[in-house]
Homo-oligomer: 364 residues x 2
Amino acid sequence: MRKIGKQEIEDMAVGAALLGTGGGGDPHIGKLMALQAIEEYGEVTLLDVDEVPEDALVVPSSMMGAPTVMLEKPPSGEEAIEAFQILEKYLGKKIYATFPIEAGGVNSMLPFALAARLGLPVIDADGMGRAFPELQMVTFYLDGISATPGVFADEKGNTALLSTIDNVWTERIARAATVQMGGSTMVAMYSMTAKNLKESGIPNILKLEEEIGKTIRLAKENNVNPIREVLKITGGFELFQGKVSDINRKTETGFARGVATFEGLNAYKGETLQLRFQNEHLLAQTEDRVLCVTPDLIAVLDAETGLPITTEGIRYGARSVVIGIPCNPKWRTEKGIATVGPRYFGYDVDYVPVEELVKKGVTL
Amino acid sequence: MRKIGKQEIEDMAVGAALLGTGGGGDPHIGKLMALQAIEEYGEVTLLDVDEVPEDALVVPSSMMGAPTVMLEKPPSGEEAIEAFQILEKYLGKKIYATFPIEAGGVNSMLPFALAARLGLPVIDADGMGRAFPELQMVTFYLDGISATPGVFADEKGNTALLSTIDNVWTERIARAATVQMGGSTMVAMYSMTAKNLKESGIPNILKLEEEIGKTIRLAKENNVNPIREVLKITGGFELFQGKVSDINRKTETGFARGVATFEGLNAYKGETLQLRFQNEHLLAQTEDRVLCVTPDLIAVLDAETGLPITTEGIRYGARSVVIGIPCNPKWRTEKGIATVGPRYFGYDVDYVPVEELVKKGVTL
């Protein structure tokens, strides 16, 4: 148990944006919301999952929708509270603590904003160990934990308590409604016991986020290369160094989809990297090789500062280093690959772990 | 109070399809579902709204979605029960009786199917006096009665309890979700007291439906012209006699939209009628005149039998009589016209009552 104040939030936001692989929302907005809530309501207690009673009701709080929409329409905070209240009333039980559903600029931070306002602790665990664009893409789903009964709510005051036969239906119905509700909603789904979270979640994700953020922040002061340090902490690999030569994106059916092209620099001169994303970066490939593919993590970092760049933050000409990080082993199962592997997203490549790809390369 | 058995259902189904102005779903399916439930569970008690205690909780049961979808995917009946149960649990009160939300082939009949199964009475009142395609298009809305808390449920077992800031939001959110859920759902919305229904509903709609159906059924036996009799009962007007020469329709965003063209016969020879519909027939016009426009009722009847023809039942070559019927006065208010008048549906004509249009004609 420890207290999370402003510096911790600043660091976590950076690490979350990196693990968010380009998605999970704008780190600036998420951070501002968390900082503002801590300023107003005080620091937030962070618990390890082992510190929570096994039968306690725990519920992640997250935003659903396109990050590009969120830039224009940040949540008020009220809708997250209302979603929790509706769920508590329905379940007839108090929510003991909240936690992030994923690592990402917004969804790592929103639980702190809500926790500060409600005086709840945050648990250091999530359901992805990275970010993903759809509701069923959580390790909880792999273990058969239902997303519903669950609530989604918009900033206008519209709410829905959903009960579905499986989590893919939750995604379909809530997504369609969310698009109607202005493109983003606050979601209270995957209510579970702390025991469920311990067994099916990914622990210590916030600690990792904070460590990444702190390392990047102190790199100059410590006279180290921030990207090399991040690779050490995460067990990741450098995939490419390049300059953005083309960026093509659109927001459709609630997602920010697109492709970014990087022209190689330094050791990569003459090579071209294509990075495909659907809210998150999902596939990095050169003309003849796949370098990294979902569910392994792909992050685009500013070549100088090491700061992560989101899909909507990629700008023409930006000098970047693209890195790949092995995903949590839960994703490397048959159901994991079926749920979040390349073919689910429509890419005609097989999943091969990034550590093998960087070793030998794979011809397309 | 009286009992509704199979003959009453047969007659009501015909009258409902006529007042449904081409929409409200296939009369055959709705009738079959009601008949089957009565066969299995016994006759249903029909109450006048005055016979219900003023503070009793009453809830209409209806189908949301495109009638063309409903032809392929009829409701199981279970989803309507589940919607009622979720609403009762949420409101903490037993539902005393149900009633139709609108006049139409399916939505006039479904309350009988549900009532038979649950042993509930049906109240002789509705919220339209005709059929309309959207959730907020009820006389209850004109009086500020909320559609939510309300439930929609599909035949697979997916349900949503919705709470919205107004009924137009209910429509938008439930419609988008319904499209995802296969194109049709069963809906339990506009829960109210019997006093609300008495003040804001349209009474004796089922009695009128039955009278219309019975008159058409017995016309041959009584040696009368069924269409002339229907005009007498409803206070309606003959608008056109013709043969369908063109029919153009598609199902999009949950609606059956289109336009049918009729070539004039008999006294109308040489004239052409265009009939525009969006689930319901909404605008009837010749080259130079509007003949009838929403919210007044437009019905297409088989020239020989007088039986009503739904929008999806209009066939090339069918000899038809098109009639217009004045709508309930509640619709002829400013809010009524704003809610269901021609401009809401995108038709660039003013609303003029059908009784004036047939008197003098209106140049486009």
